[in-house]
């Protein structure tokens, strides 16, 4: 394992870096460290931001100065192997593939030499690790997409992509959580709202969880969209270990 580095990010944050690559092993150490930190009750921690290879720790120097914080964080690293990590949750995300909702699906199929149905099967097979959130509220950086459906971004980005759109950009896949401009190849749309300000937990996905897409038809899309509008939809989820057994 790489040596853990403490990198100052101004006078109220430190980036604790666990490696220099995108890997599941590094990401799970970050998850363990984040859990250990939040459970430690160290005073003065304002918030933490997990990313691919580091955890950014925002703190209040009025409560804890950097030298004291670094010592405590290093103390946590020693016991990282003993941290009990709860099994990862898998969010089950229904997707209406193709049509108006996924206008680029035929292109993705054509350039990969596959049929549309094959692309849907390949895209909806894996459980994708949510490495981190960023870019816009609720946007997930997912790992684990099959290279055979990798497709370059659009040459000219679209001005407005509707919330819920599912896209592919290079070897990445993801969901647009809010209406935004963007250059991803759109293959479908989910009626599940990644961001809903009135919800107790406004953002649905969390770093460290997994996402599994499954195809639905228009009738089911409409049904779920109606439930989302009424605030009664509960996203299906299962524990990763349970499913493996």
């Amino acid at each position: 394992m790489d040596e853990v580095r403490f990198l100052n990010a101004g006078d109220t944050a430190v980036t604790v870096e666990f490696g220099n690559e995108i890997s599941v092993a590094i990401n799970s150490r970050i998850r363990a460290f984040n859990i250990a930190l939040l459970e430690s009750g160290i005073s003065g921690i304002v918030e933490t931001v997990p990313t691919y290879r580091s955890l950014m720790v925002h703190y209040d120097p009025g409560v804890i100065r950097y030298a004291a914080l670094e010592q405590k964080l290093k103390g946590l690293l020693g016991g990282l192997d003993k941290v009990r990590i709860p099994p990862s949750e898998v969010l089950e995300i229904p997707v209406l593939y193709g049509g108006e909702e996924g206008p680029d699906l035929p292109f993705v199929a054509e350039q990969g030499g596959r049929s549309v149905d094959e692309v849907i099967a390949i895209h909806s097979a894996p459980e994708y690790l949510i490495y981190m959130l960023g870019f816009t509220p609720g946007f997930t950086y997912l790992g684990g997409m099959d290279d055979t459906i990798a497709t370059p971004r659009l040459k000219t980005p679209r001005v407005k992509i509707p919330a819920g759109s599912v896209g592919i950009a290079g070897a990445q896949t993801g969901v647009y959580p809010i209406d935004s401009p963007g250059g991803w190849q759109l293959i479908g749309r989910t009626p599940v709202r990644m961001y809903a300000p009135e919800r107790e937990k406004p953002i649905l996905p969390e770093a460290g969880q997994y996402m599994k897409f499954y195809p639905i038809d228009r009738a089911e899309y409409d049904r779920i969209a109606e439930q989302e509008a009424a605030g009664t939809y509960v996203c299906k989820r299962h524990s990763r270990e349970e499913r493996a057994e």
């Binding site: 918030e47 933490t48 931001v49 960023g134 870019f135 406004p202």
Partner: protein, 314 residues
């Protein structure tokens, strides 16, 4: 209890001290770009430091007060007037029903902050009243103010004490060249020593590309060891990103929570009050200081706010 927007100005938004706790979900912190001036405006108006204020950029708005209110304007001098009569910055002022606050034009700085005693009647979203326009989160319907908007006010429990003496000397002064103190990192090792030297000795100009998200600078090119790209990590307020172009971008309130450019250094919190006032054409230099000195400066600044409140309220 309300304010009617007669003209929104160039960019007027509701902000407070920011939305913390949601960066892990990709939600930017937002908040006042010059948090110090926002806090001072609130203290002068008798509010808590973190109360929501109006942040006005370069060309201020025209606002009609539909009932009497106590207000304070801080930060940039955008030329505030009350019914056409010049009004002091950094002073609590009693406004009568029907009076109109107008700004005649910028004299110094970039952003002014208007606090109203009692605060703005704006719902909190994820624990904050700050506006994040790009995603339509918080503030007044998630957007900048527009003509004919009516903002509710919360009635103050009691008016601020000793109104006549609630004033301080304006804290922001325009200069021909500004110095921003910085702490190196998190990717200072991605630059050559000559590149770091360039950064710490060069004079940089603020380009026309500056908004609440970031402030693009132009000046001597800062050399990387190899490239300006990294695997994305977290971005703090005041982070100085240097992409492969070698030209720095200072990240402000509406910055994305994560990003993939090398960050050579971070402006210290105590200097956000200067950073938040920079506008196109301004010249800046960077001065390296130690992390502990930066934290001392922040704590001293906070102590000065407590002292100000104590002096005004007693």
């Amino acid at each position: 209890m309300s304010i009617t927007v007669l003209h929104p100005g160039m960019l007027t938004t509701v902000q407070d001290q920011g939305r913390t706790g949601y960066q892990q979900f990709g939600v930017p912190v937002s908040g006042a770009v010059d948090p110090r001036s926002a806090a001072v405006a609130n203290i002068l108006a008798g509010n808590e430091e973190g109360e929501a204020i109006l942040e006005c950029t370069i060309m201020g708005p025209q606002l009609r007060f539909d009932q009497p209110a106590v207000i304070a304007v801080t930060g940039a001098d955008l030329g505030p007037t009350l019914d056409g009569v010049p009004m002091d910055n950094y002073r609590a002022v009693q406004v009568g029903a029907g009076q109109v606050l107008r700004f005649t034009g910028p004299k110094s700085g970039c952003r002014a902050f208007i606090a109203v005693a009692g605060g703005l009647d704006i719902p909190q979203v994820m624990g904050s009243r700050s506006t994040y326009m790009k995603a339509g989160i918080g503030g007044f319907h998630g957007r900048k103010l527009e003509k004919e908007d009516v903002l509710g006010l919360r009635a103050p429990e009691k008016g601020p004490k000793s109104l006549a003496t609630r004033a301080i000397a304006p804290e922001f002064r325009a200069r021909t060249e500004y110095t921003l103190r910085v702490v190196p990192g998190p990717q200072d090792d991605a630059f050559t020593s000559a590149g770091m030297e360039t950064f710490l000795t060069g004079v940089y100009s603020v380009t026309a590309e500056f908004d609440r998200m970031g402030c693009r600078l132009e000046g001597p090119e800062i050399a990387h060891e190899s490239s300006g790209d990294i695997i994305s990590d977290g971005i703090a307020f005041g982070a100085i990103q240097v992409p492969s172009s070698g030209q720095p971008i200072v990240m402000l309130s509406d910055r994305q929570t994560t990003g993939g450019y090398t960050k050579i250094a971070n402006v210290i919190s105590a200097d956000f009050r200067i950073l938040g006032q920079l506008k196109s054409g301004d010249k800046v230099r960077f001065e390296k200081i130690s992390l502990s000195a930066a934290q001392e400066a922040l704590l001293a600044q906070r102590a000065s706010l407590r002292l100000l409140r104590h002096v005004l309220d007693n």
